[in-house]
C-alpha cells in the first residue's frame, strides 16, 4: 500500500476514494447469485419438477420401477390408433400447409407489389390467433350454423345445411392448414428472399436451363429451410389440442387430447402420465431434429438484402399468377376470421349486438357463477402477471446466456437448448405435471391464482429471450465501458444504456407474452380454477353448451380475444426493426 505523501495538496486528498468495499463486492456477488438463482429456481420448480413428477407417477409409483401404467399403451389397440391418428393427421396437415405455403412463399420472396407489407402481416395473423379463436372461427365458417352453409342454403333454396364438416377430419385438417401456412411462408419465404439470385445467374452463364437451375441450385439450397418449416409445423400439428377437442368432437383424439381425457375425465393418472411421457419423447425428438436443421440453415450461404432479390411482376402472366395465389391465400386465411365477426353480430338474419350484451349479464342458468365478461378481467389480470414474470425470467436468462457465451462458449451450447425446452413441451403435459406435482407439499399451489400465470410464463418467456438476445449480442461491449468511464455506476449503465437499447425488443417480447397468455388453452384447461375462467376457457365452456345464446356468446368472446391478439400482433410488426428478431 502506497501512502499518500505529505506534499499532496488538500483538494486532491478530498478525492480519495475507498477500495471497492466489502458491501460492494457482496453486491456484485449477490447480482450473480440473483442472475443464476432466479431462472434456475423457476425452471427447477415449475418445469423440471412437474415433469419429473409425471415420470415418477408413470414409472415409479411406489418407489420402484413398475411398468403397469405402460401396459395398456402397448396392449390396447385403442392407444395405437390414437398414436396412428396423431401421426397421420399431422402429416396430412403439414402437407396441406406446404401445398399452400410454398407457392405463397415463392411469390412473397420474388415479387414486390403494392400492399405487400400489410398482406404479409395479415398472412401471419392466423398463426398468432389463439387456438379457441381458430376453432370457433371454423365453426362460424363451416359449421351447421356457419356462414358457408347459410350462403349455400340461400343460393340453392335448401331446407337444411348441405355441408356437414363439423366433427369430421376435414375441418380439423383445414384448421391446421389455416394455422400453419403462415409458418411455411415466414420461414421458407424469409430464407428464399435472401438467397443470392446471382447463384442462379452463375448457373445460367454456365449453361443451365431455368428448370435445371431450379433443380440444381434453388431446391438443394432451399431444402433445409423447407425441412425445418415442415418439422416445426409437424410438431405443432402433432401436439394439436384445442382444434381437435373443439372441432373434432368426441370421435377424434390426438395423444395430447387423450392425455387430457384420461387425466381429467377418466382420472386415470398413471396412464395419463405414461401418455405424457410418450408425448415428451416425440416432441423432444422433433425438437432435436429441428435444432439440427436450424444449424444447417446457418451455413455461410451468400445471403443478399431483399432489395436485391425482388422485383415487381412484369408480364401479364406473372401478374396473374401473383394475383391468383394471393387471392386464394387471402380468401382462405381471412374468411374464417371474417365469418367469426359476421356470425357474432348476426341474430335471426339481422345485425345485432345481443351476444355481446349477454356477456354482461349474470344469468342463473349460465355455466358460470359470475358475469361472463369477468373472464376478460381474469385474462387481463393473468396476462399482465405473465408479462411481468416472463420479462423477469426472459431478461435474466438472456443475460445469463450472453454471459455464458462470452465466458464459457461450450457450456452455452448446452444451456441454450435447455432454455428452449419449454417451447417443445406440450402445454397439456405441462398443465398435467402441475396438477400432480404442485398440488401437494412441498410446493402446494393448487389454491393459488399464481399457478396459471406461472404456466403461461414458461410458455411465453422463450419469446422474450429470443427477441432480446440478438440485440444483446449486437451490443458493443465497450459501450458499457464508455458509460462507466464517464462516471455511470453499474446500475446507471443498465438503466441508461442497456434498457433504452433493449427497449424495443423487450416490448416485442412483452406483447408476445401478453398475447400468448391471453390465448393459452391447453395448460389453462387443466390448472385454471372454475371461479376464475380465462377467455379461452370461457369460450370452450360456452361451445360445450347447447343453445344459440351460448354459441353466440362464444362467438362474441372469440371476437374480443381475436381483436386483442390482432392489435398486439400488429403492434409487434411495427416495433420490429428490420428482421432482427430470431422468429
Amino acid at each position: 500500500m502506497n501512502h499518500p505523501p505529505h506534499s499532496v495538496p488538500d483538494p486532491i486528498r478530498k478525492r480519495l476514494r475507498t477500495r471497492r468495499s466489502l458491501p460492494g463486492r457482496m453486491l456484485a456477488w449477490g447480482g450473480q447469485v440473483l442472475l443464476w438463482g432466479v431462472p434456475l429456481l423457476f425452471f427447477g420448480a415449475f418445469f423440471f419438477y412437474p415433469l419429473a413428477a409425471i415420470f415418477r407417477l408413470s414409472l415409479f409409483p411406489e418407489g420402484h420401477l413398475v411398468t403397469e401404467a405402460l401396459r395398456p399403451l402397448i396392449e390396447k389397440s385403442y392407444y395405437a390408433r390414437v398414436l396412428w391418428f396423431t401421426v397421420w393427421q399431422a402429416t396430412a396437415s403439414t402437407a396441406g400447409a406446404l401445398l399452400l405455403g410454398l407457392p405463397a412463399a415463392a411469390i412473397f420472396s420474388h415479387y414486390r407489389f403494392p400492399g405487400k407489407a400489410l398482406l404479409r402481416a395479415l398472412t401471419t395473423l392466423p398463426f398468432v390467433m389463439p387456438t379457441v379463436v381458430v376453432a370457433t372461427a371454423f365453426t362460424a365458417l363451416l359449421g351447421p350454423r356457419g356462414m358457408l352453409n347459410d350462403i349455400l342454403r340461400t343460393l340453392f333454396h335448401l331446407d337444411s345445411s348441405p355441408l356437414h364438416l363439423q366433427n369430421t377430419i376435414w375441418i380439423i385438417l383445414l384448421a391446421h392448414v389455416f394455422y400453419n401456412t403462415s409458418v411455411v411462408i415466414r420461414l421458407v419465404g424469409g430464407f428464399w428472399a435472401n438467397l443470392d439470385p446471382r447463384l442462379g445467374a452463375a448457373a445460367a452463364v454456365l449453361g443451365a436451363k431455368p428448370w435445371q437451375r431450379f433443380r440444381q441450385i434453388t431446391v438443394p439450397l432451399l431444402l433445409p429451410a423447407v425441412a425445418a418449416a415442415s418439422l416445426l409445423v409437424f410438431m405443432f400439428n402433432f401436439t394439436s389440442f384445442g382444434v381437435i377437442l373443439i372441432l373434432g368432437g368426441p370421435g377424434f383424439a390426438t395423444v395430447e387430447v387423450e392425455i387430457y381425457r384420461t387425466a381429467v375425465r377418466l382420472f386415470d393418472l398413471p396412464v395419463a402420465a405414461a401418455l405424457s411421457l410418450l408425448q415428451m419423447l416425440f416432441t423432444l425428438g422433433l425438437m432435436v431434429g429441428y435444432t439440427h436443421l436450424q444449424q444447417r440453415l446457418t451455413l455461410p450461404l451468400p445471403l443478399r438484402p431483399q432489395s436485391a432479390t425482388q422485383r415487381p411482376p412484369r408480364t401479364a402472366g406473372e401478374r396473374g399468377l401473383v394475383f391468383g395465389v394471393l387471392l386464394l391465400l387471402g380468401v382462405f386465411l381471412l374468411s374464417p376470421l371474417f365469418a367469426l365477426v359476421q356470425r357474432s353480430l348476426t341474430l335471426g338474419g339481422g345485425l345485432s349486438l345481443q351476444f355481446y350484451r349477454a356477456l354482461f349479464v349474470n344469468r342463473s342458468d349460465s355455466v358460470f357463477f359470475v358475469t361472463p365478461i369477468l373472464a376478460v378481467r381474469n385474462s387481463l389480470m393473468f396476462a399482465v402477471t405473465t408479462v411481468f414474470m416472463a420479462v423477469t425470467i426472459g431478461l435474466s436468462t438472456a443475460y445469463l446466456l450472453r454471459q455464458t457465451e462470452l465466458r464459457h462458449k461450450r457450456f452455452a451450447y448446452l444451456l441454450d437448448p435447455v432454455l428452449m425446452l419449454p417451447l417443445g413441451t406440450s402445454a397439456v403435459t405441462l398443465g398435467f405435471g402441475y396438477i400432480i406435482a404442485l398440488g401437494k407439499p412441498p410446493l402446494n399451489l393448487r389454491a393459488s391464482l399464481l399457478i396459471l400465470p406461472i404456466a403461461h410464463t414458461l410458455i411465453a418467456f422463450p419469446f422474450v429471450l429470443r427477441s432480446v438476445l440478438p440485440i444483446l449480442r449486437g451490443m458493443q461491449p465497450q459501450i458499457r465501458e464508455a458509460a462507466a468511464v464517464l462516471g455511470a455506476s453499474p446500475a446507471a449503465v443498465w438503466r441508461r444504456i442497456d434498457l433504452p437499447i433493449l427497449a424495443r425488443a423487450l416490448m416485442v417480447g412483452m406483447v408476445f407474452a401478453f398475447t400468448i397468455s391471453m390465448g393459452e388453452f391447453g395448460a389453462s384447461l387443466l390448472v385454471s380454477r372454475p371461479q376464475f375462467p380465462t377467455l379461452p376457457i370461457a369460450i370452450y365452456r360456452f361451445l360445450g353448451q347447447p343453445g344459440l345464446n351460448n354459441y353466440g356468446q362464444a362467438l362474441a368472446m372469440s371476437v374480443i380475444l381475436m381483436a386483442t391478439t390482432a392489435v398486439g400482433f400488429l403492434g409487434i410488426e411495427n416495433l420490429r426493426y428490420g428482421d432482427m428478431g430470431e422468429f
Binding site: M1, S7, V8, I479, E481, L486, A488, S489, P500
Partner: protein
C-alpha cells in the same frame, strides 16, 4: 500543477496481467506527470491497450498498483476514477443525440441542466460542431463522430484523458489533419493525457514522452527525437523501420571507434558501453544519415545503385555494396542530375547516424 511536481500525477507500478495463462503485461512501470501527454507505442499485441485498460480500471491487474495523485486507485471501480477514455471506434451511444452523448458524463456527475447546456455548447464550439447538438450520432461522418467522441470524454473535465488509437479508423489524410488539431487542443487545455497508438508518426506528432512497449514489457521511454536518434534496442530500431542492419566487428575503441563490416570500415560516434575490440556487434544506419558527396569524409562508402524511388520531398535510394547482397536504403533530397541504375555512387554517412548494438 506544472510538469515536474515531486509526485507524478499517475504511477503504475509493476503491473502484471495474463489472459487465460497468456501473459500480456509482465511487470510494467508507467509514470505520467500532470499536464503531460504520454504515448504508449508498440506493435499490436504488445500490451499497450491492456495497460491502458488497467489504468482506466476496466481490467484489474493480476499484480501491481495504480497510484493517482498519491492515492492507490487499483481497486477503485472505473466509474469513480474521474478519468476520460476515448475508444478506437468511438463507441458513441446509438440511442442518444450528439448533445446527450456529450452530456452523459455531466449528468452522471450531477451537473445542473444550466451548467450542462453551457458546457456542451462550449465543447461543440471547441470542435466546430456548434449546430450538431440535436443530430443523431449515426448521421455524422467519421471525422465528426471522432470529434464528438473526443469532447464526450473531455466533458466532465477528467483528471486523466485516455485515447485508445483515436485516429485508427480514419483515412490517412484526415488522420494527419486531426493529429495536429488534437495536439493543439490537448496542449491548449494542459490536459494530462495517455495516448495509445501503433503508429510511430502519430506518436511523434502528439507525445511529450513515448513509452515504447514490446511483448508486455517497456522497451524504451523518452522524448520522440531521443528515441528516434538513439533507439535503445534492435527491437526499437526495427520498429522504427530502420532496415539498414548488418553484422560488424569492433576494430578499435580509441581514439576513434572503428568497425569492420561488409561495407568496409565505419566510424560510429559511439559504441555500446563495455565494448571490447573483437566483439561482434550489429550495426544500423539510419536512412536519412547519408549524403551524396564526392570529396573524402570519415565514413565514405562506394555503392552500386540498384533502384530509385521518387517520393516527393525525398527519394529512396536502394544501394548495394560491391560484391555483396547487402542492400542499403537511404532517403536523399531530390536530385536534378541523377545517376543511372548500375552506376557506382559515393555517399558519406554521418557518425551519429551509425547505431551499434552489442551482441
Amino acid at each position: 500543477m506544472v510538469g515536474s511536481s515531486p509526485v507524478p500525477f499517475l504511477m503504475a507500478n509493476q503491473i502484471t496481467k495474463a489472459f487465460a495463462d497468456t501473459p500480456v503485461l509482465r511487470g510494467v512501470d508507467l509514470t505520467i506527470a500532470a499536464g503531460e501527454t504520454v504515448c504508449l507505442l508498440g506493435p499490436s499485441g504488445c500490451g499497450k491497450t491492456t495497460l491502458l485498460r488497467v489504468v482506466a480500471g476496466l481490467e484489474p491487474p493480476d499484480a501491481g498498483q495504480v497510484i493517482c495523485e498519491g492515492e492507490d486507485v487499483t481497486h477503485v471501480p472505473v466509474h469513480q476514477r474521474e478519468f476520460g477514455l476515448m475508444f478506437q471506434d468511438y463507441v458513441l451511444f446509438p440511442h442518444m443525440s450528439v448533445f446527450d452523448n456529450i452530456a452523459f458524463g455531466l449528468r452522471m456527475h450531477r451537473w445542473s441542466p444550466q451548467q450542462i447546456r453551457q458546457r456542451v455548447q462550449e465543447l461543440l464550439t471547441l470542435v466546430n460542431l456548434q449546430h450538431f447538438g440535436p443530430r443523431k450520432v449515426y448521421e455524422l461522418s467519421g471525422g465528426q463522430q471522432q470529434r464528438v467522441a473526443l469532447v464526450r470524454s473531455l466533458a466532465p473535465k477528467p483528471r486523466l484523458l485516455m485515447l485508445d488509437e483515436p485516429l485508427g479508423s480514419l483515412d490517412r489524410e484526415l488522420r494527419d489533419r486531426l493529429q495536429d488539431e488534437l495536439r493543439t487542443l490537448l496542449g491548449g487545455l494542459r490536459q494530462t493525457t495517455l495516448y495509445v497508438t501503433h503508429d510511430q508518426w502519430e506518436a511523434f506528432a502528439i507525445a511529450d514522452r513515448i513509452v515504447l512497449m514490446n511483448a508486455g514489457r517497456v522497451e524504451q521511454v523518452g522524448a520522440a527525437d531521443a528515441i528516434y536518434l538513439r533507439p535503445a534496442s534492435l527491437f526499437v530500431s526495427r520498429f522504427l523501420g530502420f532496415r539498414n542492419e548488418f553484422p560488424a566487428r569492433i576494430m578499435a575503441l580509441n581514439p576513434a571507434p572503428a568497425l569492420e563490416c561488409l561495407l568496409g570500415v565505419l566510424h560510429p560516434a559511439e559504441l555500446p558501453p563495455q565494448s571490447a575490440v573483437g566483439d561482434t556487434v550489429t550495426v544500423v544506419i539510419r536512412p536519412e544519415a547519408a549524403t551524396l558527396r564526392y570529396e573524402a569524409c570519415g565514413n565514405q562508402l562506394s555503392l552500386r545503385l540498384l533502384d530509385l524511388s521518387f517520393r516527393g520531398a525525398q527519394t529512396v535510394w536502394r544501394l548495394a555494396a560491391p560484391g555483396s547482397e547487402q542492400v542499403l536504403e537511404f532517403y536523399l533530397p531530390p536530385q536534378v542530375h541523377r545517376p543511372r541504375i548500375g552506376d557506382t555512387v559515393k555517399v558519406c554517412v554521418e557518425p551519429h547516424g551509425i547505431i551499434v548494438f552489442g551482441g
